[in-house]
């Protein structure tokens, strides 16, 4: 038989003004199982809590109901008090007679009756409460960061500086990502390389960062605090430990005319190469598709000239398992390509802009490379077709973005700003040139952003035309731009020397595959989903996995860096303790009843349900049942509502507790 203690709070006058608290205490005291009931001015005050603890000890109470304010207010307070008196905290419940009763009703009699019923309901509920032990999970204090762009670099440095080991995995031969390709950055026009490369070097030199470049995530197992990640290190054909980065191999490689993707195919590179001179690590990689040795078996020049003997044609992919406790996903974005899209693709191309076949119609990133001092033209703006300096240049915004017809409805967020920057860079380099920008809306929220945009118009003389471009076509060596100015309401035609398209930010190709490996969710475009749009913007719903940068949605550099540091802080919070403690409101499976239909697994938003084999003593398979991993379970209880045989139960909200409440009414 339970011995329940009921404590009715006056809350000063907040409750007692409309609810006859003495009557409530008296009436509830008559309920079977209630061994003690009283009322007090302020239950949450020190003396109030003292009263509670004293009663627990003296009256040998088995359960406690505190009738007071909302549990959202003081449940933690009272559960802690109960715990300090030696009871399991989950044997204490609160009856909300303030927010749900005294404050919303005026009639004293009505309110009192309602309060008695509310408390009675909680008394019935608490009788069915069970002792719930706190759940602890061990934490491996190492972190994995996927992606070596500015987001991954920032997160890795922050976590490593906090004293934890970091494994940084980058798909390309060098870290740096898109930011390393940029010329200058808005709104300050800092040289991107000047602020980026020191950070890259920091990563390379950090004693607690283990860097895997030219590597990808193969497989992820485990859960928060306890992941096992398999990394595939692709064959580089150069042994990193031996290579000194002298660069002789690159100089001597006879294959020289391979378009360099880092330079948007404007420059050339050899078959053994580093993507750009400041690459980290400064270890070349052999492009096996274009290398004569791999294509014909002959050549081998690089091996011959390599002093330390680092070139290894026999190298194979290696799989490495890394145990980590947290994962930061910072895989970044791809740019919408203006080339023709394959038939049936959900993202459609721009035939009206020539499908990328007009040579002097380029995208924004190509313009960055043209404008970059370390780029293929040494920072001179020139036309890819004939190397002439363009005197009339047209920028078109929202290419791909905000175009549901093309399959992308969202705003890419950064294009308004980078186009404004492009007009400035252009004006700085081509003084007698004229820049035109076709735009729909200028979206420039951000510190010093609108001022920057206005500067491009007012000081750098860019002509902004509100309206879109219908079509581009080549006419002689000019490109005819057929647009409209909707403010004036007339068509506009410009014969341009060069056209720059501000193409959309898209999720990385293959983002969905990685998400499936990690067990995180993504939206219809394949951007990764955060756990809560407002309150948990850097966490995935899957515990222990955090997001940084444009893999979650279009972002500029400041936002990316902030989010990366935020993700790092979340990782540090997790690593601050040796054991992970969590509220024991988790689902548990009654294996005897489970028939293995796995409805629970199908509805679980967290992927917390696993399949577990039950075997007899001889090792024969008896049945397969569900198992809820308490480290991963979020505690929503959708599984229980869905389970046909109710063989999975959410602790703290069991059917028994709920039915007891309904039956009390």
């Amino acid at each position: 038989m339970s011995r329940i203690g009921v404590f009715v709070c006056h809350c000063g006058e907040n409750i007692s003004r409309t609810v006859d608290v003495e009557r409530v205490a008296a009436e509830v005291g008559k309920l079977p199982g209630v061994a003690f009931s009283t009322d007090y001015k302020y239950m949450c005050s020190d003396p109030g809590q003292g009263l509670l603890k004293k009663a627990i000890r003296e009256e040998r109470l088995s359960h406690v109901v505190v009738a007071a304010c909302s549990p959202r207010m003081h449940e933690k307070t009272f559960r802690k008090a109960v715990e300090s008196a030696g009871l399991n905290p989950f044997l204490c419940e609160m009856a909300n007679i303030r927010e749900h009763c005294s404050w919303v009703h005026e009639d004293r009699d009505e309110a009192t009756v309602k309060a008695i019923e509310i408390v009675g309901m909680m008394v019935e509920r608490v009788k069915k409460n069970r002792v719930l032990p706190t759940i602890t999970v061990p934490v491996t204090k190492r972190s994995l960061v996927i992606g070596g762009g500015i987001a991954g670099i920032q997160a890795a440095l922050d976590i490593a500086d906090a004293g934890h080991e970091v494994v940084l995995v980058e798909r390309e031969p060098s870290i740096g990502g898109h930011m390393a390709q940029l010329s200058e950055t808005f709104p300050t026009l800092d040289c991107s390389q000047c602020i980026m490369t020191p950070k890259m070097v920091d990563v390379a030199n950090h004693p607690r960062i283990k860097l895997y470049t030219y590597a990808e995530i193969e497989h992820v197992e485990g859960y928060i605090g306890n992941f096992q990640v398999t990394v595939r290190r692709k064959a580089r054909s150069v042994i990193e430990e031996k290579c000194t980065g002298c660069g002789v191999c690159m100089e001597k490689c006879p294959v020289r005319k391979i378009p360099n993707t880092f330079d948007r195919d404007l420059g050339m590179r050899p078959a053994i190469y580093v993507p750009f001179p400041q690459a980290v690590p400064n270890t070349p990689v052999i492009d096996r598709e274009n290398c004569t040795k791999f294509k014909t078996g002959k050549c081998g020049v690089c091996q011959k000239v390599c002093g330390p003997g680092a070139v290894d044609y026999e190298q194979e992919d290696r799989l490495i398992v890394e145990p980590v406790g947290a994962i930061v996903v910072a895989t970044g974005f791809d740019l919408y390509s203006i080339e023709e899209k394959p038939k049936g693709s959900s993202i459609k191309g721009y035939g009206e802009f020539g499908h990328g076949r007009i040579p002097d119609v380029i995208d924004g990133m190509t313009f960055e490379r043209l404008a970059s001092a370390s780029g293929p033209t040494g920072g001179k703006i020139m036309r890819p077709s004939d190397g002439r300096e363009p005197k009339q240049i047209v920028f078109i915004q929202c290419v791909g973005s905000r175009a549901r017809e093309k399959g992308i409805s969202y705003c890419s967020k950064i294009c308004c700003m980078y186009t404004a920057k492009h007009t400035m860079l252009y004006h700085h380099k081509v003084h007698d040139g004229q820049a035109y920008v076709f735009f729909m809306d200028a979206r420039t929220p951000g510190k010093s952003y609108d001022e920057f945009w206005r500067r491009s118009i007012e000081e750098e003389e860019a002509v902004y035309i509100r309206g879109m471009v219908s079509r581009l076509y080549q006419k002689g060596d000019k490109i005819v731009v057929m647009g409209s100015d909707i403010s004036v309401g007339v068509q506009v035609e410009i014969e341009a020397d060069m056209v720059v398209l501000a193409t959309a930010v898209q999720p990385r190709k293959g983002a969905d595959t990685l998400a499936q490996k990690l067990g995180i969710s993504y939206d219809k475009y394949h951007f990764y989903s955060e756990a809560h749009a407002k309150l948990r913007p850097v966490e995935c719903a899957t515990a222990g996995i955090y997001l940084a940068g444009a893999c979650q949605g279009p972002k500029d550099i400041p936002d990316t860096v902030s989010q990366a540091s935020a993700a790092a802080a979340k990782v540090m919070t997790l690593f601050a303790r040796d054991q992970l403690e969590r509220e024991p409101i988790v689902a548990r499976v009654r294996e005897t009843g489970c028939v293995g239909c796995f409805y629970c697994k199908k509805v679980c938003p967290y992927g917390a349900v696993e399949e577990k084999e039950i075997r007899d003593r001889q090792g024969n398979l008896v049945k397969v049942v569900a198992y809820v991993n308490p480290g991963v379970c979020g505690g929503c209880g959708t599984c229980q509502a869905t389970c046909p045989s109710k063989s999975v139960e959410l602790d703290g909200y069991t059917d028994e507790q709920i039915v007891a409440m309904i039956e009390s009414l």
């Binding site: 927010e99 749900h100 509502a641």
Partner: protein, 166 residues
């Protein structure tokens, strides 16, 4: 400002099943804003609407509820990512079933009430209370509960004949 409270002959019993993150918090907000609403509602807190089993609604009606309110987070706001989406489907189906067996759906209300919508909570509770008050008590389940009649009632001539022969 004290208006004379109307006395009603029938005070319906309303049971509300709400999620703790949105609607429960919304009801708290109604309290902290001192909004007023009928005292007929009893609130049962769940972690998520995804936890609410249709059987609970049935049970509530059997237990004498005259109206049932189910309320949770707006789509996309679920604290547990998708619990309310699952609940939405479940209840879309369940209400059709209840309707088919003859339960007047005027007694069963679903709503999305966020933590910021104290006013909407008041509106929902008041609306349902008044609506159910207008419909009168939920007699069906109460009558059913009172019927002790064994299923094999002798209501056909064949059965009567067979019974008489025993």
């Amino acid at each position: 400002m004290h208006t004379e409270k109307e006395k009603h002959t029938f005070e319906p019993k309303i049971i509300a099943f709400v999620c703790t993150w949105c609607t429960y918090a919304g009801a708290d907000l109604a309290g902290t804003s001192r909004m007023q609403y009928p005292a007929n509602v009893r609130v049962l807190k769940f972690p998520c609407t995804g936890r609410i089993d249709p059987v609970f609604i049935l049970k509530a009606f059997q237990q004498g509820a005259d109206g049932v309110l189910v309320s949770g987070c707006h789509p996309g706001d679920c604290h547990y990512i998708a619990g309310n989406f699952h609940a939405r489907r479940r209840f879309a189906a369940f209400r059709k079933l209840l309707e088919f067996v003859g339960v007047d759906l005027g007694r069963l209300q679903f709503s999305w009430v966020s933590a910021a919508e104290g006013g909407k909570w008041v509106e929902m509770v008041t609306g349902l209370t008044e609506q159910v008050r207008g419909m009168g008590p939920m007699q069906e389940f109460k009558e059913l509960a009172l019927e002790e009649q064994w299923s094999g009632s002798i209501d056909t001539p064949e059965l009567q004949e067979a019974y008489d022969q025993i």
